[in-house]
């Protein structure tokens, strides 16, 4: 992992544009007037203290929450398009995949089946064909199984393929979560604290997987992370949120020097 090299990499056009987004639950403001963009192929980090609204931001991009004000534009078929009240399914169709902070795996299912659900978007055989498992349905099932097996190989979890995910240790569950998102073959990957609760070795593995995905498939990465050394190491640009507002945006070095960011982290009174 060489931090210096990643910063200079060429990044492309804007793929997600967040403009003036505000979100409130009842009287509680989770996000106020947040704007930033994500460019193709970059690693974009969102950082901030607890309760800064980071996960809410991802949920807004995902279409799980609908902001009261502001717009989200996503790149579809080469152009940025504005979406209103999109539902998560549409967002997934536009090529955005997601992992979760508090493991949201399907715990009654095996590792294989969990990752296979990521292929559901691409599986189209109708219910009658599936019921009889006739030609096209069986063929489709095997094709996607092959794609999933490649992901399983990539994440080095071959030995646990048939194990129910609930029985796996935490670090492996995080990998399965990533695998399920990768199965969508997304153009953007939203990662919500992919390294929370991991030991150093597991973190290194996870960093390697993330950077590999970014390098090999050119997948854009948006990541929330608390471990600053990791953030500074692997991200191209960083957004800093505090109490639902954006207080910093730029390269890791710029953000590190930003007075507002330092105050937020050191807890200067507002």
């Amino acid at each position: 992992m060489s931090g210096g090299a990643t910063v200079e990499r060429v990044t492309g056009e804007v793929i997600i544009a967040v403009e003036g987004v505000s979100l409130a639950f009842g009287g509680v403001k989770a996000l106020s007037d947040v704007s930033f963009d994500v460019r193709e192929h970059e690693v974009r980090a969102i950082i901030g203290p607890n309760g800064a609204g980071k996960s809410s931001m991802l949920n807004v991009i995902n279409g799980v929450y609908h902001p009261q004000r502001g717009t989200i534009r996503l790149k579809m078929d080469g152009t940025l398009r504005e979406f209103h009240d999109m539902d998560p399914h549409e967002v997934a169709l536009s090529g955005i995949a997601r992992t979760f902070q508090n493991l949201a795996l399907f715990k009654g299912m095996s590792v294989l089946d969990n990752i296979m659900t990521g292929r559901n978007l691409r599986m189209h055989s109708n219910i009658l064909l599936q019921a009889l498992r006739l030609g096209p349905a069986a063929k489709e099932e095997i094709e996607h199984r092959e794609a999933v097996e490649r992901i399983i190989d990539f994440l080095e979890i071959q030995a646990w393929r048939k194990t129910p995910v609930g029985r796996l240790p935490y670090g492996l569950q995080k990998r399965v979560d990533l695998g399920r998102a990768l199965a969508l073959e997304p153009s953007v990957l939203l990662l919500d604290e992919p390294m929370a609760g991991m030991n150093v070795e597991e973190k290194q593995d996870m960093c390697r997987f993330i950077l590999d995905v970014n390098d090999h498939f050119g997948t854009t990465i948006v990541l929330i992370e608390h471990d600053m050394s990791v953030v500074m190491d692997i991200s191209d640009r960083v957004v800093v949120l505090d109490y639902g507002r954006k207080i910093g945006d730029g390269t890791p070095d710029e953000v590190r020097g930003n007075q507002a960011v330092i105050d937020a982290y050191l807890g200067v009174s507002h």
């Binding site: 799980v64 399907f106 009654g108 299912m109 292929r119 559901n120 019921a131 399920r180």
Partner: protein, 354 residues
């Protein structure tokens, strides 16, 4: 000792995805089918068919239907007898009005009508979950109870409100004896079990289970809740509707209003809790248990020489069901099917403890 999978390598994904990957299981299943289709029809008595085997087969089908919805898709229903009623009355009316129709067609049509009604009552599941849905499904129960008791058209203007079915004929073959009924029901159940198995291991089944386990995550990875939930309601109601039609035509023969009441709904639910939620095998176990317990309670005291009154038996039945539900929820939430799986696992490793 003999139950081992060593040396059975799979070289294709197709081989890995088959239903019974272990050779011994396939042999066992084949043996079971031979017994069910050949030995049982020869040796079983009419009593055994009528009071045990026929109800068992039909209720298993209904339990599979409910299990697809509750056990696989995680949508609770405590009014599923409503869809059995829809299936039964639909079949009755279709057979009555188009007498020349093949019984198989009648069954499928009845199932489709039940599926449509099931989807209608499944619509609230798109906005509400869990406990709220329980009340929504109760609405289906009480509304259909009333509908079939009060709207005279459904019962062909019978003054008593009860209906009797026509003889069952298909391809010139009349299904009238208990043995014929048993064989027909067994074949239907096997076909429906295979279809259910295919569905739950296909992408639609994964969508159901994803909704059950973590609905928000399922949406985010691109599963549409509308499609997943409504398809579960539709398929489940189809199964239960067919089971209802079979219950009416093959088990009851004639029935009165309220034959498909809340008690039946709850019994279906108990079958899948005791048998095992999210397990097709569990549906078999649960149905067997619910059918056998009352018979056992009726016979056992007499055999032991301490006869008890019928009222007492029905109270005991309620108490035993109630206590068992709580027991299973606490001790083994995955029901008898899990106990079976654990036993098999032990057998695979035997004589080594781990």
């Amino acid at each position: 000792m003999f139950y081992r999978e060593n040396g059975q390598y799979k070289t294709t994904y197709a081989a890995d995805q088959q239903m019974l990957p272990i050779l011994q299981d396939r042999v066992f299943m084949a043996g079971l089918l031979v017994v069910a289709f050949v030995a049982v029809p020869f040796f079983a008595s009419d009593y055994l068919f009528l009071s045990l085997l026929i109800p068992f087969l039909i209720l298993t089908l209904a339990a599979i239907g409910l299990n697809l919805l509750v056990g696989y898709c995680g949508q609770i229903s405590i009014g599923h007898a409503a869809f059995m009623a829809v299936g039964a009355y639909a079949a009755y009316n279709i057979a009555l009005r188009i007498p020349q129709l093949n019984f198989l067609v009648v069954l499928v049509l009845a199932g489709l009508i039940a599926a449509a009604v099931g989807m209608l009552f499944g619509v609230p599941s798109l906005r509400i979950k869990g406990l709220y849905l329980a009340v929504a499904t109760l609405a289906a129960q009480f509304f259909t109870d009333w509908l079939f008791a009060r709207v005279k058209w459904f019962t062909d203007y019978a003054s008593s409100g009860s209906v009797s079915t026509a003889p069952i004929v298909m391809f010139g073959w009349t299904i009238d004896t208990p043995v014929k009924k048993y064989c027909f029901l067994l074949a239907v159940l096997i076909v429906f079990t295979l279809i259910a198995k295919n569905l739950v291991r296909g992408h639609i089944g994964r969508a159901w289970m994803a909704m059950r386990d973590m609905d928000v995550a399922a949406e985010v990875i691109g599963i549409r809740p509308v499609y997943a939930k409504l398809s579960a309601f539709a398929v489940s109601s189809f199964y239960v509707g067919v089971a209802g039609a079979l219950w009416g035509f093959m088990h009851l023969g004639s029935w009165e209003p309220l034959a498909f009441n809340l008690t039946l709904s709850l019994n279906l639910l108990f079958m899948i809790i005791i048998g095992g939620m999210g397990s097709l095998l569990g549906s078999y176990f649960g149905a067997a248990f619910i059918v056998m317990l009352p018979i056992l309670l009726n016979q056992l005291p007499t055999l032991l020489g301490v006869p008890i009154s019928t009222a007492m038996i029905s109270h005991l039945e309620l108490m035993i069901f109630g206590a068992l539900i709580v027991f299973f929820l606490i001790v083994e939430p995955h029901g008898l099917a899990r106990l079976w799986a654990v036993g098999k696992e032990k057998l695979r490793l035997w004589p080594f403890p781990h």
